[in-house]
Amino acid sequence: MPGDPTNRGAPPPVNIGRLKLTDFRNYLSLAVDLSPGAVVLTGDNGAGKTNLLEAVSLLSPGRGLRRAAYAEIARDGAKGGFVVHAHVEGAQGEADIGTGAGTADPDAEGSLRKVRINGAPARSADEMLEWLRVMWLTPAMDGLFTGPAADRRRFLDRLVLTIDPAHGRRALDYEKAMRGRNRLLADGSRNDGWFDAIETQMAETGAAIAAARFEMVRLLKAMIERTPEEGPFPRADLALSGVLEAGLASGAAIDAEEDFRRRLAEGRERDRAAGRTLEGPHRSDLLVRHRPKDMPAELCSTGEQKALLVGLVLSHARLTGELSGMAPILLLDEIAAHFDHRRRAALFGILDDLGCQVFMTGTERELFSAIEGRAQFLTVSAGAVSAG
């Protein structure tokens, strides 16, 4: 990760100029021209607003904002899989990015998603991060602070990946090594040399994961300090819990790695009894506190939690822009629902200032009256999108 954020103003925005969907959920075929800045999608329940955001979220590695199976995304009744195509205009010029999956092709590895950039197949989905960064906030994340740690960990890793494209690879490598170890545990293997070899890989990749999380949180905290104290969204205090992360807080990464390796070796009997690896970065958590109230986020009111989360995502968007040189694309699903008029106006102001292309949805256009004339308004209806 590059150095600390500096105050050098908004980075060049990255926009999707044109978006095309084929057999994507309730869209048979869609082609829509998009403007930089705010894009507001309104329409009735079930019209396809979230689906459109989901399509954009697939322009980043991973399974998108619903984490759905690709076969589920492909339109019911479609013969093949889905396709998302975007013309991206950004700092490095223009790019055509196409991605698709979910074909019924028997020998296609079902879980694999194909990505093409400027007509050539991408080596991995991570290559999309060279062109754009996408981050999202959906109503499904409203329970992030009260829900299971796994959700926060996934959120945390998404925050890291958006800034540090190598994070996805690390996570996959760690996961693979750990699943191998779990298999050895389940098989009752006593081959210490084999355990040693796998645990060395787990320690190496695990330490890299923890270090990247630690660094992102450090930078995000610094960014949060730069937001006004009396802003519309409360400042968050962040901390990480986890064996490796705790070690990083107090010492060097290499010690944390060695320490984790030792703990894995010593924990074999315990893990054998449990049938899985009980300690590691796959068990870490992101701890968030509401600073003005000096209270853990999970004890705050629904509205307070939402405001905290929005503040976090906005600070992260600014950080992403400064570190990657690309203002991220933000997907804010039903963002206006929880907020009063004053806070909504403040949110629009911050988004304006960030210079991001931001997709916002809502059932009522009135929720966005504060940006009439300053945003592209699109109406979504039964899998079709029209202006106005």
Binding site: S124, R169, D173, K176, A177, R179, G180, R181, R183, L184, D187, S189, N191, G193, W194, D196, A197, I198, T200, Q201, T205
Partner: protein
Amino acid sequence: MSKRIVGPEIERLIQLLAKVPGLGPRSARRAALHLIKKKEQLLGPLTVAMGDALDTVRVCSTCGNVDTSDPCTICTDPRRDEATIIVVEDVADLWALERAGAMNARYHVLGGTLSPLDGVGPDDLNIRSLVDRVARGGVNELILAVNATVEGQTTAHYITDQLDGLGVKITRLAHGVPVGGELDYLDEGTLSAALKARTVF
């Protein structure tokens, strides 16, 4: 059901050719047609060549390479440096390194990588034979040219551990083999650069 257009012998030929890497059903049909059109010049000699290969191909009991003699051509080549062994995952990697022509050494083919999820353990790989080979003496350097994948690196670590105390210098390919990159697909320049810049493990 589509109508049959060729007899079962040709149909079978197409089906088998379609299993060859790089050939799908379409190109298998084209290849089959080409073969039967060039019956005398191609199909005949190919049949003989395949029969000969079938009769003679064997796995080298020294290094795990596949060849038509045991020990293999590489193991019996007197011009190769006996003191240096390059450890590879697969014969394809051996061929890739040989194409790059970077080293004049011997090889040891593991036949895969350690992978609990695929049920591949140390006994399924040519690790024991490697340890024995080193223990017999005469080997100064072992170059672990395994892929930079989790499995490749786990295997490299395991082998290093097994060779502990045998007094052999163990090196591995320096950066240049990208993470997840498979040796076989690397271009030759990258490979020789990686070999030259190897580091002590």
